[in-house]
Symmetry: C2
Subunit: 338 residues, 2 copies
């Protein structure tokens, strides 16, 4: 691997000049500049990013931490984040902490240290059970800006999220509007902010329609397929059977739909199902899933905007910037399942 010194020698200039033509950081004679370019091409030179980063004390890289790459929602936002970051001149490295149960905590610990060591310009965190306030604090203490996606607010972090509660109120109003009175809910993973906000929206949606929530109609899910499948099986045993179920996310809804098929219960005729997220798959199953769009494009775009701004605005020492919070719009997508 040739270094800048090699290029300088070949072009008969100093490394300073090479650096400046590379970065366009001061005017250099066209002829000189040309010689440098030729040398670069001949030597197949490429800047050593490690050295550059050390010198400029910046990495032009963000870390993105997601709980689960197997739920398509996260790849969907990850892709947007990568595009937007590239457009803004940053790279992003994805840390996904879904692993065979048990190993997760270790891996997360490992990631956390790696993230601190790598000196990312910002870290973008999707809500995860493992991402505790303590974890945030470590990062914040090290001066890294944090952008939260969903989860709970933190005084020293920017945050972008959708209004889960309002979105679910929308689906409840829709379901009630279609005449459903016995509406069940399969919850998300216990302990997650999005789970409880959606649950609350479910309950209040019922109340608002003058229906008293029936605890029998609330079963625990996990945001995973299995949770939906098992939860639906339990719901199908209830009498009366719910005429509609709101699943905490699309994966859960898919599990619920499969449970219905396996039990020879027709969707949406015997039971309506609505999910949450509007992952691509929602439109690609039959019946197509009614759901709410989670704003993956907007979330990705805003997260990067916040990250870039947090990074560039950062005052050298101390001076706390005002943290921002942005709510992206949701939208009920009516399809065939409910």
């Amino acid at each position: 691997m040739p270094t800048m010194k090699d290029v300088a020698r070949h072009a008969g200039v100093s490394t300073a000049t090479v650096s400046h033509v590379l970065n366009g950081t001061r005017t250099v004679q066209p002829e000189t500049s040309e010689r440098v370019r030729i040398a670069i091409a001949n030597l197949q030179y490429e800047t050593n990013g490690t050295a550059r980063n050390l010198r400029v004390r910046t990495t032009s890289t963000f870390a993105l931490v997601v709980p689960d790459l197997s739920n398509p929602f996260f790849p969907e936002v990850a892709v947007v984040i990568q595009q937007e970051a590239a457009r803004a001149g940053y790279d992003v490295v994805i840390y996904s902490i879904d692993v065979p149960h048990g190993e997760s905590a270790d891996l997360f610990e490992h990631y956390l240290r790696a993230i601190r060591r790598k000196r990312y310009d910002a870290v973008i965190y999707a809500e995860t059970l493992l991402v505790t306030p303590t974890a945030h604090q470590q990062l914040i203490d090290s001066g890294t800006p944090i952008i939260l996606i969903g989860g709970t607010p933190h005084p020293q972090a920017d945050r972008v999220y959708i209004d889960n509660y309002a979105a679910v109120r929308d689906v409840m109003a829709y379901l009630v509007g279609k005449g459903h009175r016995t509406i069940a809910h399969i919850t998300g993973a216990a302990g997650m902010a999005s789970s409880s906000a959606r649950q609350q929206g479910y309950r209040d949606g019922l109340l608002a329609a003058g229906i008293v929530p029936n605890p029998e109609f609330e079963v625990a899910g996990s945001f995973l397929y299995e949770g939906g499948y098992l939860g639906m099986q339990r719901l199908l045993e209830r009498t009366p059977r719910p005429s509609a179920v709101f699943a905490a996310n699309d994966e859960t809804a898919l599990g619920a739909m499969c449970a219905c098929v396996d039990a020879h219960v027709s969707v949406p005729d015997e039971v309506a199902i609505v999910g949450f997220d509007d992952i691509a798959l929602a439109a690609n199953v039959r019946p197509a899933l009614t759901t709410v769009y989670h704003g993956q494009r907007e979330i990705g775009r805003e997260a990067i905007r916040l990250a870039v701004s947090a990074h560039t605005q950062r005052t050298p020492e101390g001076g706390e910037e005002q943290k921002q919070t942005v709510i992206v719009p949701h939208r009920l997508i009516v399809r065939d399942s409910g």
Copy 2:
């Protein structure tokens, strides 16, 4: 952010000593070592990876480039790769080049330069249309070991893949064994090695059963849902109608299944469908998809093994190591769709 110098000062030792206790690279008096640890804890010190990487000329990081994060197959192998890499002490950064058509080439160009600049210890490449031999060559010339997943062999790169042809021969034998004679095929994306290998397996599977391939039964897909949906629609217009279709991958198969549902054609009664990959989703739709396991666990594991070995075995100057090639096992998974 405190530096090693700060730690040294606080502990009353030299930076050399701090470095050595951190890396366990020479024996140091227990008492001294303890003082250093205390200072590290107090200051919340964490190694500056950038500086370290520059000095040791290694990044302990691999790049993984995948064509498409929205096809669950790739997240599935990415997750395994990350775990295995973490276990071996490496990080991996994922570059996904799926973007709204057209932008792809630019983004890929951008990624390629970023990858060269970042001095990854190895790059792992899943087959992509954009990853040309020229692209490989640039990386290889820069001395970065390359590990190919699937695709076509390259003399200077390791490679891990499954035997697509043999796998498809297995599915054809299975279908023929169930009495199917009119078997159609929805192909993968044009120009990809895995597409043609699977197509060849399809044709030869027919021939081996004494059936002459009917060009009408071969329709072009794209490895995407849409390709499967559209392809199936065309197949359903054929007379006679095929009694079975082999889709180039699971996403395609899902599209095909949806097309059948929409056309009121029953799967598997009127037409059997089999896919390829065995993504998690395959078991989570109804009817559950018959498919072939693509060895995502094995591919991930082997890719990292090759990457680590290519990185550590690398001879300082020139000396070409023997490139390795590993074939991971496939397995027909019979479910309900065919």
